[in-house]
Subunit: 138 residues, 2 copies
């Protein structure tokens, strides 16, 4: 398991450090998305706030994690298992936010439908965020 984590870091040309391993591990063990605060509040790992910011930034740049649009002013990060392990990053799935447990999960298998834009608009990325009640809270 810890080997797998080191591999991901190596594959992305990143030095293997305690901090990066632990943060990446959190993502691998989390069913949903994580906010900066979730990582910082983690009890059995304490790194500086700044380190968390920088690590998340690095992971996003490398495509290990991606961020999810939110309506409040928080940034949510999620690792999308299949894509990210392969090294190249797709982000064309639906994000679901549960109103009850407040977790955000990537619905890997729900494909985003085509959206037809008016003339003159070029479409690069489409983000779909659905809120409601998840399968565990139902």
């Amino acid at each position: 398991m810890m080997e797998q984590i080191a591999d991901i870091l190596k594959k992305n040309q990143l030095s293997i450090t305690e901090g990066r391993k632990k943060i990446l591990n959190m993502f691998l063990n989390s069913p949903g998305a994580l906010a900066h605060a979730d990582i910082e509040k983690n009890t059995d790992a304490s790194f500086d706030r700044v380190t968390v910011y920088r690590t998340l930034q690095t992971f996003v740049e490398k495509g290990i994690i991606h961020n999810i649009p939110t309506t409040d002013n928080s940034i949510l990060y999620a690792l999308c298992k299949d894509n990210c392990e392969a090294g190249h990053h797709h982000d064309n799935h639906v994000h679901f936010i549960c109103d009850v447990c407040d977790k955000t999960i990537c619905l890997e298998n729900v494909i985003i439908p085509e959206v037809k834009l008016p003339k003159g608009f070029t479409q690069k990325q489409t983000d779909v965020v659905i809120s409601g009640i998840c399968n565990k809270c139902k």
Copy 2:
């Protein structure tokens, strides 16, 4: 024009104040969404930061404006002309963010397609944010 603004406020049972009129006016004259900073930086209107926060909050509560999910940690607000003037607020259109001019616009006429969720998930709200190049930058 300034009459129309007062009417919107009245319709929503809000006291008509200089600040609210000016901020609402900015929305009516803006082709795209506005961030808190845009309003605060506006030169020919200077109110306290706190007033801007509270005004935006009030407008959201009343359904005059709504906020748009973003990937960074900013909050974008947009007034959707037709809906909001009618008093009751729908938010089932697509939001478009231009990578060139960085503006966010509501595509009122682009309807969000149905997304089929896995078993157990209940769907309340669907937000679609598309990024790319807008019709003016093309």
